[in-house]
Symmetry: C2
Subunit: 260 residues, 2 copies
Amino acid sequence: MDSTKTVNIIRIKGKESMNEEDIVIMEYPFTIFVNDEEIITLLCSPNSLKELLVGFLYSEGFLTSFSDIDRIRIDKDKGIGYIYLKNINKFNEKLRGKRTITSGCGKGTLFYNVLDSFKSKKIEKSLSLQADEIKEIVRQFNRKSELFLTTGGVHSCALCSNQDIIIFEEDIGRHNALDKIFGKALLEKIDTKDKIILTSGRISSEILIKSAKRQVPVIVSRSAPTSLAVEMATELGITLIGFARGEKMNIYTNFPSLIF
Amino acid sequence: MDSTKTVNIIRIKGKESMNEEDIVIMEYPFTIFVNDEEIITLLCSPNSLKELLVGFLYSEGFLTSFSDIDRIRIDKDKGIGYIYLKNINKFNEKLRGKRTITSGCGKGTLFYNVLDSFKSKKIEKSLSLQADEIKEIVRQFNRKSELFLTTGGVHSCALCSNQDIIIFEEDIGRHNALDKIFGKALLEKIDTKDKIILTSGRISSEILIKSAKRQVPVIVSRSAPTSLAVEMATELGITLIGFARGEKMNIYTNFPSLIF
């Protein structure tokens, strides 16, 4: 299935108007069934669906390791992904945790529960990196981000060593692109503890939480981080780098792990 | 509460590194209680919270008109919004519809149910617009988008007539910004049927569904639309304009409602 679609448009330029063809990015509804129960429909780019399925369910707490997976089947034409997990109880429990409407009396919000559960998960392994190494992988990353250049509508994400891009994914959603990365890492048993996450999109708290779950020590973005992402990165021991473009970058947190 | 926060960073430029201050955009957890039940925590920019509360609940189907609202209280320090709705049954029903894990047998996906329920909601009122009018409101819109210029991390959204911006909102999330617009329109009883939605972000199917619910006939973006947004706009009779920048714009759907 193509990642783009050609449509007829009218292009306006000053006083002129022209009938032309234009390429738009595919937005593909992908429905996930876990042990034959419908969970959610993600709106995504129609590639790396198996990776998205696994990564999304990992991020949401449905599965915690490769060994939880019994089998996976993707029906691309219908836009459905089926996964069978070995431990149905755990899944149900996590599901309820996510969707329950908790009582307002004496309970914190779901969000702060999420934060709390991550406070203990400080990054164990720090990474020594040189600024020049980051500039070089950002250059590689920009060269790879082709879909964005064609359509202006997609986010790129990569898992990298300090030398090379190991996994590269694109999606209309920042979160989907990251879930695809972690899904692939899980399926191919690639360690994420000594790696770098590169993203074209903004670094929000959710991106940070997902990366912290996989113990990624460094997150680099072409864009800005949010205040909450900076606070959480400080807390979790993650090095946060924003506005990484050409010869420039801003280091927001945990400077010591970088060597310049 | 400020929309931005100052943090200490190390700025790298070539071989130089400088300790500096930088401004990052606030990401604020805002928990919504409906009739004393906790519903969700949104991660948003900490302004126009009442509008966000009302707009989000409208988009999600918890309320359908101003008269559904009994009272609203915002606790900004704690990040909580309380709304009391008159019709608790309706709310519970909608809530269940949204969160239930439907059985996989013989039922379509939640997503297609959503699409189906909108197919009948074609835009009733078309809008006559001149390309020059769009260029002018886009210029106004760009001048107003200040927070983005400061921090590089926020989306702007506006409800406009063919002459002026009527409501303008900013948020770290595209959807939040749009929900704030519709929340304010609902609270101030501003008709949206003869208006234009302007957004700095990509036009996805979700943006389209939200706008169609309020019968907005024209959506304009500085960015790209997705394939699904183009298909739905065609179906719903909405005029979709992308890449509206300076003297240029691309018209993707329903050309006849525009006069050039």
